[in-house]
Symmetry: C2
Subunit: 201 residues, 2 copies
């Protein structure tokens, strides 16, 4: 099979795996059910991914990277750093509380090896936080822009993520997400001085 074909095939398999993970959880997602849903054979799954953890490792990696790339793109579309943050916040809430990311986090929580958690942390937070820190470094006076990011994320998300992961909350809708993000940014601006040139006109 050609490389291109295989790549799209793998994407299909990983998509099917994620769908089953969202619906049934890690333990109840069997290799057989993945094969059936993806129209692939067990032999192929094992040849390509080695074993069940291997499949999920690849799936998590691919999906987290995909989500990251979407977020990266949207952030780059702005010149004014705080305007970018303002746009970014609600998206970040939406992504991090989505069924998909919640399911990925649950899988990571159940993974004794810690591989899934490492992937999520490195690819997810590891690439998102620096972007935010860059934006804040351009907009806010602080010797430690990374800490501004910390505070912002705390204000933005609170314990939304952990509550979602243990299953005690629906995802916030778009209106709530925007409100929450606006409040977080407003509080952040009261906590840290904004460069005068960056004040809104």
């Amino acid at each position: 099979m050609r490389q291109e074909t295989r790549k799209t095939r793998q994407k299909e398999i990983q998509r099917a795996t994620l769908a089953l993970l969202v619906q049934h959880g890690y333990a109840a997602t069997t290799m057989a059910s993945v094969a059936k849903a993806a129209g692939a054979s067990l032999e192929t799954l094992y040849k390509w991914y080695g074993d069940k953890p291997g499949l999920f490792r690849a799936m998590v990696q691919a999906n987290i990277e995909e989500l990251r790339d979407e977020l990266v793109m949207s952030a780059a579309a702005f010149r004014d750093p705080l305007a970018a943050v303002q746009e970014f916040g609600p998206q970040l809430i939406a992504v991090l509380t989505s069924e998909e990311v919640v399911a990925l986090n649950r899988a990571a929580a159940a993974d004794p090896s810690g591989d899934l958690g490492r992937i999520i942390a490195e690819v997810g937070r590891g690439s998102i936080a620096p972007q935010l820190t860059d934006l804040f470094a351009r907009a806010i006076e602080s010797e430690d822009p990374a800490q501004v990011t910390e505070v912002y994320l705390g204000l933005l998300l609170g314990d939304l993520q952990i509550r979602r992961v243990i299953g005690r909350m629906p995802p916030p809708d778009a209106v709530e997400a925007r409100q929450r993000a606006d409040r977080a940014l407003e509080m952040l601006r009261r906590l840290f001085p904004v460069y005068p040139s960056k004040l809104p006109a």
Copy 2:
């Protein structure tokens, strides 16, 4: 067997269950391993708890209540509300990032029924947040003290919990916890006006 004896026996079983959960996770904690560790028989486990989820439900309930009671006690020991919060913050960080609570959260994340998550949310947050809200209502001018609590928890914990649960972080030590709590309270006081009478002497 007398009531008292049975109660202590159940406590032993639940303690052993938690220890195994912390060490191996939910999936790898077998009923047989619990029986062995607790020196109980499988028959007793099934007679008392019905099935594996039942055992874990009871265990989570008992342990969360125990943790809550410890926190409740410490908070009641103060007269000045913000002093109580100041003392409470580091403890809350320590408890919520402890191996035990992380393991309980992981079990809840893996539980498809949502029972464990419900227990944790209701017994845990459901009793802690109102206590904090009471303290803030006495110390801070706000039409919505519950939201002050929200903000405080966000500043205090950030994404510590979710990062702990997916396995990408050691628990913060006592010094870090206190620093973090102090910073959170200090930021909170800049965000919300404190009643003059409550200002420190």
